[in-house]
Symmetry: C2
Subunit: 147 residues, 2 copies
Amino acid sequence: MDETSIIGDPRITLFGRLVEAYASLRQQLDDEMQQEVGLPLLWYGVLLHIGRSPEGVRPMSELTEATAFTSGGVTRLVDRMEAAGYVERRPCPTDRRVQYVGLTETGREILERGSEVHIRGIQEHMLDRLGPGEVEELDRLLYKLAH
Amino acid sequence: MDETSIIGDPRITLFGRLVEAYASLRQQLDDEMQQEVGLPLLWYGVLLHIGRSPEGVRPMSELTEATAFTSGGVTRLVDRMEAAGYVERRPCPTDRRVQYVGLTETGREILERGSEVHIRGIQEHMLDRLGPGEVEELDRLLYKLAH
DNA sequence: CGAAAGTACTTGACGTGTCAACTATTGACT
DNA sequence: AGTCAATAGTTGACACGTCAAGTACTTTCG
């Protein structure tokens, strides 16, 4: 509406691109996960985070970091995932304030199935669209932005 | 926990990087916008979208695209922004089903102030962290992923 | 023209996250 | 040891988005 206004500044679009790419990929990967495994991508991320930890267990506090939720949000998320039978709370032997969260047998199974779908999605929607060397380049650039 | 499991696949991390970069930047830009202008980044995005359209007005339906919300979500979002005095609904002369959304005077002012903050944030958290040519490269790669 | 299908938006019921206050436990300092 | 600040997690009240049904208007087509 006003060509001389600051709102036309082209710098704004770089962040816009990041938002677009993120939103579009997230949408597709989430849809596929829901469709084929019946699991929200968020839940898959939590299962993966726990499943990848060497002790097979993570304290609630660390899930707040991983999810970027508040502690209250994680309490409720774990409540639901526990009710669904994917995870379980376990007491921490050295600090009774801490709640560990570990995978149930069902949780492990669905994490395995989810991972197949997730990897296929990433292959299809990300890796296959980039040329040789571009994957490493993108990874490097995104790393610089996040740290 | 199990080195032979599919969950260790390194391909998973590329999407993880995108999530990290997006979450980290979004957080910082949103904090700054809230702090300095008292505006959620989401609202800023809507004001910008409307402010950049040549007619100075956008139909609700287009805001659903821009925000990736459902139509009901946009109705409520615009309700709140209208109550805050930043936008106003205007009837569409050619189709009485359509609601146009336009900026109020206050909305224009805050969009202007928000843009200064937003551009400064992008400069600081994105452009300044990348080397020469890397901005164009990142933009190109993100574009490929989103389309 | 008039009925039926389509489109734009709104609304009620509900799911899921935040915020701030609270409980329980631990660590630090005298 | 004994108090007091810090930390981990939960909870009630609330904010904000989705989903599906509803209203109003428009377009299509026999």
